[in-house]
């Protein structure tokens, strides 16, 4: 009888695990749009980046800091949710659409570029930032002044990213590209002169430069245009309008500019004027 008892316990544990797994998939009850949900539960789960200096970074003591985080907190506040009711989870680039679709997160503010392909899966609010792809070079390197002076240079970007693809498309004949898993690895190569420049969105580069003061500088000649927005469940127009309203208020009361200055300003990043909300 020992076995059957063990089996019964095992089955019970398995059943519980399945129940727990199913329950975890849904983010609580309450209305079917973001505004209703925020109002009734006073809790929100937000997907952010946890490894990008200045934009979305999880500090060793478990706090989340950065421009994206500030935007997310501001939106939550406007939806009537206190900071204590917020849960931040990591939203890796490849998983963002499925996290929204499954309901693991209520919305995502994680350097999320608005593209037509993604719009088939999720809805966007914003944009709240319009970065362009730029170059980050050693502070004492004056040989790279912009995209036109890349002849024979070694660039670096994150593997598979849109930035890496843009370098391959635009500069394949002049420059070589090294692809690493993260930007910090690129910086090692640039610092030791094995590579000459890191290339990606200027907002990300500004964050990297601000985290390593004095070592690197932004070239400041962006050659692409991205539109960073807030991603949420497809078709949630009430939620989208509420986020857009929150963003406009954030522009108007100056906290948008203050946050950018605080997180990206130290790198010499030129603070732009707030972008026009186009996802309506």
């Amino acid at each position: 009888m020992r076995f059957s008892k063990g089996l019964r316990i095992g089955a019970a544990v398995a059943a519980l695990a399945v129940l727990a797994a199913c329950g975890g998939g849904k983010s609580g009850g309450g209305g079917d749009n973001l505004v209703e949900k925020a109002k009734s539960s006073k809790k929100l789960v937000i997907g952010v980046k946890i490894d990008q200096n200045g934009l979305g970074l999880k500090t060793p003591d478990g706090k989340f800091v950065g421009f994206d985080i500030d935007v997310a907190k501001y939106i939550a506040k406007e939806l009537g949710v206190e900071e204590s009711g917020l849960t931040f989870v990591e939203a890796q680039s490849s998983q963002r659409e499925s996290m929204i679709k499954k309901g693991d997160v209520d919305f995502i503010a994680a350097t999320y570029s608005i593209t037509d392909k993604r719009k088939e899966e999720v809805s966007f609010a914003g944009p709240y930032l319009l970065p362009g792809q730029d170059l980050l070079v050693r502070a004492d390197d004056n040989s790279i002044t912009g995209p036109e002076s890349l002849n024979g240079k070694n660039l670096c970007s994150v593997k598979g990213s849109t930035s890496a693809q843009a370098v391959k498309d635009k500069f394949a004949n002049q420059a070589q590209l090294k692809e690493y898993g993260g930007y910090s690895e690129c910086l090692t190569g640039v610092e030791n002169k094995a590579l000459d420049a890191v290339s990606t969105d200027d907002s990300i580069l500004a964050g990297l430069s601000a985290a390593n003061p004095g070592k690197f500088k932004l070239v400041g000649k962006p050659f692409t245009k991205e539109r960073i927005g807030v991603g949420l469940k497809k078709g949630d127009t009430v939620g989208r309008d509420a986020i857009n309203k929150a963003l406009e208020k954030m522009y108007a009361d100056g906290s948008w500019k203050a946050s950018l200055e605080k997180h990206l300003g130290p790198s010499g990043y030129k603070i732009p004027s707030p972008p026009e909300i186009t996802e309506k």
């Binding site: 890496a164 590209l177 898993g181 030791n192 094995a194």
Partner: protein, 226 residues
Amino acid sequence: MLDFLSEYDVLGAFWGTVQLTFYSAVGSLIWGTVLAAMRVAPAPIMRAFGTGYVNIVRNIPLTVIIIGCSLGLSDTLGLVLAKQGSPTSLADNGFWLAVLGLVAYTATFVCESLRSGINTVPVGQAEASRALGLGFTQTLTIVVLPQAFRSVVAPLASVLIALTKNTTVASAIGVAEASLLMAEMVENESDALLLVFATFALGFVALTLPTGLLLGALAKKVAVKR
């Protein structure tokens, strides 16, 4: 539904995987054999080196080895494995650094497989060859290793299959192979993620399944019947 595949050079990416596997396999077979010889050598210092190398390198994660090759040896210490000045020197350098890392790592598994093969050769064989006046190197290369290799074809096939899949780690330093293209496709084709994963899973099965079957048949054919 599969029309997005035509926009990418999937075959080219898998060709990169095959090249990486081929050079790493050849390298690790050679280095692994040398290591196995060291581990059964009469000189204590060689045995100590062989044992130490295998136990240290085998227990370091491959990602750490590969990134260490690129960040440490190349970017920081300036090791160059490709012709400077060519338009693809950066990519070539990355490729050979990945091969270096894969050889260093896989050779430990080749060595251990081979050592177990050496143990299947009856002691009498070595004793007989010594009685005939053969030295250590001769005993090993003429008598013991040929028999050992024949009995470890199947385990070596497993190592080769593992190596084929391990080449995906090279994408961590941007070597152009299958998983680097997969990262790119995951970024662009967010509406067909499962399809992208399935494509690459299938590609790897298509590479490794015939390897296993072929080498399995070979193992049966050449096994020493005792």
